[in-house]
Symmetry: C2
Subunit: 438 residues, 2 copies
């Protein structure tokens, strides 16, 4: 199947030689034949930007490729067609991409933080310069969700999307669920295995998933959702008791990023979006996403439900889709960076999380005394919340966990009801509650 390249090579400048960067260098070499077959061209790595140019790193590069520590060597080199940005973060990456676009270079990036927090100008500049700005690697690793939303699902009005978008959190929750670990132990284990950073904030506090959700909202709905407005709750400190209790009701606890479009009476679309630990019924495919896997479930007006599942991170899974983005550049596909024709992405009308409705899982720690359940049920009923199922068992120092599932209620009424319960003086610890995925 050997094929000669029929067109001039695509010259690449790579910024960042970490896990994914290293994977990309490996794939460019190993899959040179596949690349020629897919595009009719060679993809040639010319320069790699690193913080320190060690001989070990230089030895990993193909012949004719130079290491540099100066971003301008990539952005200003007239021979380079496309800059691959894999340094991450929002500072240096932003300057690099902006300057590369100024010089008319296409961009391939996996930088969700930058694209979520600060991308309007970058998309506008890419459009103005007629450059591609591709970012399949920035969401859900090998799962082709960016392309799916902008391409084959573009003919669908997307009604909702929900995803497990952070592999680190999912790994921790899976270990807590399957092996009964507590949060701190599971986190340490994830850190030892290299699944979690020394500072796990971005992952376990939900911000990484929120970044990705903002990218998906733009692709699915053509709406800009400000990062600062997004309700985000992570899994830090999640109690393994709640995982066990949820299991008794037939649920798993997952960190779910979710966005739903609501049509108001006046026909204006409003968006409900956020990241939360949620109870997912075990019969849902989303409940079966284990370890470091990611998954996305979409609901399209025409398509119905669509479920995509794959590796959410790692050197090769992400490098593979970064390479696919390079192939798209090599095939000179036209700019369609956001999946919408508009220059300017519209701002979302946001539904406050207080107004969201769902079923809830609630755990309160109470003294095992007569009348406590009646008091709590009364507070719920006062706010129009009815209880669907109750579990009460396991006595410990005469403080008892009382767990119940509710029927549909707004977060606002749940908060008010729990405030009333607090005022009754029957609680021995702060109440814990999670939404149940519908």
């Amino acid at each position: 199947m050997t094929q000669e390249a029929t067109k001039k090579p695509l010259y690449v400048g790579l910024a960042g030689m970490g896990t994914v960067g290293g994977g990309l260098v490996e794939l460019l070499e190993k899959d040179a034949e596949l690349i020629r077959r897919r595009t009719g061209r060679d993809i040639v790595l010319r320069k790699v930007l690193v913080r320190s140019a060690t001989p070990e790193r230089a030895a990993m590069l193909p012949e004719g490729c130079e290491l540099t520590t100066d971003p301008a060597d990539l952005t200003d080199d007239p021979e380079i067609d496309v800059v691959v940005e894999l340094i991450g973060g929002t500072g240096a990456a932003r300057s690099l991409i902006s300057r590369a676009l100024d010089h008319g270079k296409h961009i391939v990036t996996a930088n969700k933080a930058l694209l979520a927090e600060d991308s309007k100008q970058l998309f506008a500049k890419a459009r103005e310069k007629n450059c591609l700005l591709r970012y399949e690697g920035s969401v859900a690793g090998a799962i082709p969700i960016v392309e799916t939303l902008g391409g084959p699902l573009a003919g669908n009005r997307i009604l909702s999307l929900m995803g497990i978008l952070n592999g680190t959190s999912n790994y921790i929750l899976s270990e807590m669920t399957s092996n009964g670990l507590d949060f701190e132990t599971a986190l340490s284990q994830a850190q030892e295995l290299g699944y979690a950073e020394a500072d796990p904030t971005l992952d376990v506090d939900g911000f990484d998933a929120a970044h990705k959700l903002i990218l998906l909202i733009r692709l699915a709905f053509g709406l800009d959702y400000p990062f600062s407005s997004m309700p985000v709750q992570g899994i830090r400190g999640l109690d393994s008791r709640d995982i066990a209790m949820a299991r008794e009701f037939g649920y798993r606890i997952k960190l779910v990023a979710e966005a739903r479009l609501h049509e108001d009476g006046d026909g204006r679309p409003r968006l409900e979006a956020g990241v939360f630990p949620m109870l997912v019924h075990h019969t849902y495919l989303l409940a079966r996403v284990g370890g470091v896997y990611n998954a996305v479930r979409l609901e399209g007006a025409a398509s119905g439900s669509l479920f995509l599942h794959g590796r959410g991170a790692g050197a090769l899974p992400t490098a593979g889709v970064v390479l696919s983005d390079l192939l798209a550049v090599a095939r000179e596909e036209r700019p369609n960076n956001t999946g919408f024709a508009d220059d300017e992405i519209l701002s979302a009308d946001i539904v406050s999380p207080e107004d969201w409705h769902s079923e809830f899982y609630v755990r309160v720690m109470v003294h095992d005394e007569p009348g406590v359940l009646r008091d709590i049920a009364g507070c719920m009923a006062d706010e129009g919340i009815s209880m669907a199922q109750v579990i009460q068992k396991e006595v410990r120092d005469d403080v008892v966990p009382l767990v119940f599932m509710t029927h549909d209620a707004s977060a606002q009424s749940m908060n008010r009801a729990l405030q009333k319960v607090r005022e009754k003086g029957v609680l021995r610890a702060a109440p814990v509650y999670y939404r149940i995925l519908q």
Copy 2:
């Protein structure tokens, strides 16, 4: 979110006004605003080709759109930019597409039979005329598998793919499994619900899944696999006893279309592909695909395992991806019809199904006599096949079903072993065996 179209409309000629055609007419009207947002253009239906132009049909069309019974009205009209072929079959559809390409029109089709049996010339002609030939709707309904293989997974060497690609068969198997129906009853029920045609041959005998598999093989591996060479076994006459027995071992029986690439010692890739009822372990996501849903599982060298699940057929799910193909045409994406740059798709080196290795499920009907199991195990052992698990129960007229699962074996040695068992004279009916999905 109202947006004006900024470019000239895309003019469409639609051939076929059946289920999917009707769905497309509906979406073009309802989603006009979304289409403008996605592309900056209007997509305007100009002519619809039908076999008989009834007033009822004319009433379903938008203003300014004409019904016609003459294909040349679509193919030769200089105003029409793209022809959507939804008439199906290989005769009239082929002439229509070929003539439309001669006139430089882009093509959107959902015709898997045509593209599987007779598409080399059509792809070559599309390329020569610089026309798009898009066909997302031809495989697995709303699942974006065509785009995924040609786009975001293009940077992966695909090692294997397996799918549940025929919703009718999957519905029948699901009903047989969940409700204990026999094949004929489940088929009648599928026909009553409109999930199966009056002549169900294409669906239940595996040919429809085989057509789709050929399209996926081309996209994944860039290889042409002749339809006439493909091993195909359907589900007609599948015994509900085998479904029940498989269940006892923890498996579901699914109609699986599968292709695996093998590297020979000399590095030449060889392809193992076919459609068979197979046992799928209940813990696999593929085992959980129910009713008329479809699913595809890919294994990529970089991506690892990827699983896509969605509606496999129906008016709107398929019309939605046909519309997405129209959006891609409207955005003037460059021709990349096969996912490979080559004009000519290479021919596959095919592995004979006789040489495939797998674990097997085997059921034989025997007299309940001493020594029978020993005889059968002996025949298996003579061919190097070892038995992993055996079930023997339920006595009926003193003929007993003896069911066993084997370790890895080639189909050839299994056939030889079963021939030897036959020659022992202990069988009371032809043996039944299925491969077990690895």
